[in-house]
Amino acid sequence: MTEVAPAAAPESAYSALRHLRRTRQLHRLGNIEWFEAAYRVYLLAIFGGGSVLWISTSVKDGIAAPDTIADVAAHAPTVLGLVVCFALLSGLRGGAQGGPIALEAADVVHVMLSPVDRRRALLRPASQRVRGAMFSSATAGAIAGQLAGRRLPGSLLAWAAGGALFGATAALVWAGSALLAHTLRLPRWVATTAGITALAWQGVAVATDIPGPADRFGSLGLWGWRQHPADLVGVGLSLAAVVAGFLLLRRISLEALARRSALVAQLRFAVTMQDLRTVVLLRRQLNQEQARRHPWLRLRPARSHGFNSTVWRRGWHGLLRFPGTRVVRLAALAATIGVLHGATVRGTTPAMLGSALLCFVLGLEVMEPLSQEVDQPDYNDSYPVERGELMVRHLVAPLVALVPLSLVAAVAAVLTLGGSTRAIAPAAIMALPTLWGGVSGSIVSIVRDAPDPFSSTKQQAFIPPEMAGFSTALRLLLPLVISTLATCTVLLPRAALRNGDSLVGAALRGAVGSLLVIGAVCYWVKVRDRVRVKIRQFMDEGRSQTSAQRQQRSQA
């Protein structure tokens, strides 16, 4: 055991690797609950198919007008090029942060530290990653393609195939850029700058007539209608990037692999459990987003040592350590929410759902002090205050932090509405209340995750299986429904605009509606534990009375 090592025998090592991978695959297959897997596929087919059908019905059948077709022919490649540039930015940034491959932690230590050729050992997980990305992206492309095919010349099948080709190529761009950024060890700022430059250039190309860097890639999206062989250059380039990435796999960083292995395993578990809050949190960790060592501003020493002031200061201590990337992301989210609200007012009703979803995500980001409190039950159970009182106070600092973001959203909404001066007052009135209301869903999601000292696991285990799927769906959807309820108030100014009513009056009514939602949620946070205790007492009393009555009857 301690003899000086002989030269390793590579072929036997590779055969061990193959043998163990096969054995482990068999173990995993043996552990699959086939009935449950079939049930999941069934659910996916129902919801996925239903969603595609629902989207399809929103697209009218019948060929578009000739000028629209000409417009698509002229501009679609440039617009679709934006998607490719976004994939490039995402790939470059992901690669610079250690992506796209994720191994098991044990593989990092045992296989990567063994004398097997790392390129050979990594080829399989890397190609699986690329294949997976290509499959999902091609599927999305095919769905989008067949939707476009309903209005544009060409058969639906050709459009679906063209969309799939475009999607697969975008995935290759993402995977190739990620592999190259990682193996070439691109510094993060270089990767971000390169990606943003390409995206900005393409953005300028969309707005003007100059050619964009990804026009050829975008042109692939129209292959259902017309084919330009020159577009295949894009496919070739992206394939070459992936192959180059594979050839450089020996240069992969074990530090990044080790860091990602644990996080990706947790991320997959969180996705399986439909735990959106944990997904957002782990995505941040995966991107190595850490709190700033030096806060943006230092708070002055506390003058008051009361309960309110203590929680308020704790909130700001956390918020003022948000890293720059997170602040930019929050601003971008707020701006997009504003754009979607503007689009809703202009008549695109589904944009309201998008804005609700983004409000939910914004809430998960900005409600960090509350999340931290929920994640530390040992601490907050030891405080000499009622948990509901503590949590409701944790909402104050984040809600105040939303004020500047509401300005961003208001400006974006006004610009989306063509910069009309009539839009300024309603946007100013509604921006903050709709943001506050919109983040209500995330508050519910966070607070609901807090360990419940009043429920027993026994009680949860008694949920009948028929109800389990429904309760899971409800658990996932309820916060989103609350966010949607609070943001659908933007429909009021739209109705006023159509009916010629007062816009300001409609905006005021909408703002009150959104404020009612956030008010109700805050109240729920405050009294949730108390109400649960009362319900529990009520149930216990009922049970004891029933058992006493039974005893009396049996004695009689």
Binding site: M1, T2, A5, S15, T23, R24, A106, L113, L254
Partner: protein, 226 residues
């Protein structure tokens, strides 16, 4: 003849926080070295960089003359971590088989049997190590690290979680490793262990503050933070 472990201006920083200042170090073949320091002094960082598990911020580390992390360096090196990692679908015996075979060892079974017996894990060989207690996990990791051949062994806090019998067995095994001609670098807080080695290295806040014979050192003061 190249050193078993050498570093040249090896450094590591996490953003603006240096974890290890540029370090020049040479450990000859067969030497038995202890590495001490307070929590956060840079011991684990140094060992993980030498193992190729952490990227260097500067400089380089070499194992048996080969750059850390390269194939020949991995052949020569065995790494025993303070946080053992296992596959959650392989038994201990399957772990030993897998890792021995990855290192090209054909007749691994006798060695594995002997290691498990000495570490009192014989009756747990068919169990999944991720389900073990802290101490048993550490013992399993020791068996895995020693079932394969190596020239250099890097060990991080090996005594944590071990009972006295486990500690004694580990000390015996490490003595055998040293007697077999392998080089040992052991990071530890067990100051009693320090007197069994030929050379002592002490890190404080990422800098090497002592390099010499353990007999000449005031070990207790070396492990205090600045």
């Amino acid at each position: 003849m190249s050193a078993a472990l050498s570093t040249h201006q090896l450094s590591k920083d996490y953003g603006d926080r240096p974890a290890l200042f540029p370090l020049d170090l040479e450990v000859p073949k067969g030497q038995h070295v202890a590495l001490v320091g307070h929590n956060g002094s840079g011991k684990t960082t140094l060992l993980r960089m030498a193992a190729g598990l952490l990227d260097n911020s500067g400089g380089e580390a070499r194992i048996a003359g080969h750059l850390a992390g390269t194939q020949p360096a991995r052949t020569a090196l065995s790494w025993l971590s303070d946080t053992p990692t296992f596959y959650d679908d392989l038994s201990l015996w399957e772990h030993l088989e897998y890792i021995a075979r990855l290192h090209g060892v054909a007749d691994w079974a006798d060695t594995a049997e002997s290691l498990l017996s000495r570490l009192h894990l014989g009756d747990r060989r068919d169990d999944i190590p991720t389900t073990f207690s802290r101490g048993l996990r550490q013992k399993a990791a020791i068996a895995i690290a020693m079932v394969r051949p190596f020239e250099v062994m890097l060990v991080d806090e090996p005594f944590v979680g071990l009972d006295q019998a486990g500690k004694d067995t580990l000390l015996e095994l490490l003595d055998e490793v040293a007697a077999g001609g392998a080089t040992l670098l052991v990071a530890t807080h067990e100051l009693a262990f320090v007197h069994r080695v030929q050379r002592l290295l002490a890190l404080r806040d990422g800098a090497l503050v002592f390099d010499g014979a353990p007999a000449t050192a005031d070990v207790h003061s070396l492990v205090l933070p600045a």
